[in-house]
Amino acid sequence: MTEFTVVTRDTPAGPVLELTGDLDAVTAPLALQAVEALTPRAGQQVVVELTGLRFCDSSGISTLIAVHNLAHAADAGIALAGVPRHLTRTLALVGLDGFFVTHLTAAQAQAAWPEATGG
């Protein structure tokens, strides 16, 4: 059985999207719905919290690219937090290692964002 949850929370520095469980072809539409509901303002940063992500296939990568495109279109930044090892490997496989800014935790990602004090 596929278990998956997506939680969005708004912070002064920008929205945080937390994905846990299995992100695959079955659950990716759910994740994408949450992504499309994000409304980052220019100068904010979208953080995708991935510590609890157990599995991620190409549909999951697609979701991450969707976050990237949405943030980019809004003139906001994007960072991944707590990227699990399996995802690092998948990202490398599709040539996206170094494509995303990564941090150990969402808090660190927000602290590192130059405009973190805004909001």
Binding site: E36, F55, S58, S59, I61, S62, H86, V94, G95
Partner: protein, 395 residues
Amino acid sequence: MIRQAGDPREGENFADLYEHAPCGYLSTSMDGTITKVNGTLLGWLGIGRDELVGRRRFADLLSVGGRIYHETHFAPMLRMHGEAGGIALELVRADGTRLPVLVSSTVKTSANGDAELIRTTVFDAHDRRSYEQELLRALQEAEQERDRVQLLATTLQRTLLPPSLPHIPGMDVAAYYHPASADEVGGDFYDLFPLADGTWAFFLGDVSGKGAEAAVVTSLARYTLRAAAVYDPHPVAVLEHLNTVLIQEQISTTPRFCTAIHGLLEPAEGGATITLASGGHPPALLIRHDGPAELLTAQGGQLIGALPDARFVELQVHLRPGDTLLLYSDGLTEARTHDRVRYDEEELRDFADTLDVSSATETVAAVSQLLAGFGVDDDTALLALSVRLDEEGRS
């Protein structure tokens, strides 16, 4: 509330209830000869009492199918258990029409346990039969609908895969496709086709996602790759072309990208030279006839259709007789095996090392067998090319 047994109306009431009950009653001797029958059943049958009692057996009232069922199931059950209930049969009326009924029988035994007679209750199951036929029809319609959807998906899928692989002189080629579901078009694609000057192009790719939207990208990718390879066979150029086309095609916020390996095959002295470009695809596997299997990692090649300035990485290998090149989709290496452990590229390489194969056909057979053991839930494609070991064996 219960009437006294001595009530003078009692006997009359029971006789009336028996005769005009809303169900049919029938008694037969142990050989099936009808000894008693109520008016309700006679009315349903349109037959007079005199024609039945002492003359006909219960089985004579049934349709041919019902008679056989009675003989093979109903009567034995009755003999064995002393009762049989809720059996659906068809009575044949005097006018030849049929009446669906539900039949229950019990054997009446005497005080010393000898079977004396069979009492049978017959319920009109006409309404119930209509309901069941309605259910059956609905089921048949649903099945036909599902067949139509599967046929559509299968037909569409066929247009995304080559009907058969071409024959390449001196080479053995083999492919395999495992659809994730019969109802949906998968996102995997491959092809192998001739270019000018005796060279060949091939590719294998995987579109993210499933269903109709993915099928559109699959179709676009396959035809774009074929056209681009004719225009400029250089593999990196082919992938760059596809990237441009896919980026231009982005219609929704859902990014639709693919990963693919595109290759160029040039026959060379003692084998073939292969140039590969990878766009974020799992590394091709080179299974040497006389050496260890090897993953051909094109480090840094990016997925296709997501980034406007994606870069693709090229590498070249030489195939000698007995060497096999295997391309596969991540249905294989993302396969979550029964215990949910990811089967990765290194494990595939180690598996290949254990194989005693020297042709594309043998390799595809072995790897598809491995896949069958996984019970994968994603579609999976394999494409293998090998240089024939035995030149005399060429057809």
